[in-house]
Point group: C2
Amino acid sequence: MARAVSETHGEILAAAARRFAVTGYRGTSLQDIAREVGCSKATVLYHFANKEALLAELMAPAIGVLRDLDDQLTGKTGAAAQEVAAQGFVDLAVRFRREIAVLRGEFPELLCQPAFAHIQQISDRLRDALAGHSDRPGARIAALVLLAGISEACAEFADIPDDELRAALLALVRRAVEPVDAP
Amino acid sequence: MARAVSETHGEILAAAARRFAVTGYRGTSLQDIAREVGCSKATVLYHFANKEALLAELMAPAIGVLRDLDDQLTGKTGAAAQEVAAQGFVDLAVRFRREIAVLRGEFPELLCQPAFAHIQQISDRLRDALAGHSDRPGARIAALVLLAGISEACAEFADIPDDELRAALLALVRRAVEPVDAP
DNA sequence: TCAGGATCTGACCGATCGGTCAGGCATGCT
DNA sequence: AGCATGCCTGACCGATCGGTCAGATCCTGA
């Protein structure tokens, strides 16, 4: 019955990704995941310290890319910041569609967990950049709606090829973002 | 200790609206609501048959307006449908900011409950209308992102006056929607 | 005055949650 | 052969969930 380490570990991770994306983090029990893998709940907790650690390992790649994008944003202002933020976030959203779907509406509470302490600040900076660092309400509203909308919606486009979805989202963002004042 | 019917009933409804908007439907227990009102959990269940009935009564006004919007949409096509959908949904989102926040990410599961059986079809038609009934992927993607983004984001603008928020969102939607082909 | 309905509550229920623990069972090293 | 180690499991734990119920308390009208 005993399989190689990496095998079961990876299967649990994959099953969790599938379930979380459909029923959310809180809406998925360890029992659900174990059932999908075909093992016991105790086995899930043998491979992962707790439910939160499972989520953290699942989100790690996406968070790494988000961090990289945050680094690219430092120093950029105005239209340049908007363009980098738009391209970077759209690409991230398309590549990590399923991981982002996990956050469905549970973003605020999930961010309270220590493993995701910095994400809130990063997404705030991303929103600021997409607004061209403008403090006009219209610009800030547009940036927030776009980021939230793409996060929320991209999971529903599982059947659309990556590059087609990326092009459509990028075109949308460029149309929708409030242009910064000409210097 | 016993208060008039409408008083406690209304207080429970208001407390539920506040708590649901912050921690979501599933994330809020009947105990939480009772604590906020200052009564027992049994009292909450005396005034409402169950948790779902409490949610249904809370959402009823917003659902009524959504139904009205759906009626206005019948027969409209192209740019006319887009404009009615944009104005109608932005207005609804602004007026019912808190009610919509309740749905935070729990939309899919909440729709399974019998009280919200028709909402899925209505929101599908709304998305179609906002896309100008076009079947181009770009138009459908833009419509979905805008609807999801506004739903998700409008709860965070509690400090912005209704008319200012409405104007900003409407301008955003008009910029962002993919224009329908000229005839 | 008193019966009866409306309002409210503490105690309780079964189900499910995340998590713990002792032990079973292979495998591989000495 | 004997032992250690990694993998896995059933049984169990306390907490919390939505919901039920019998009864206490209050208000009102006859």
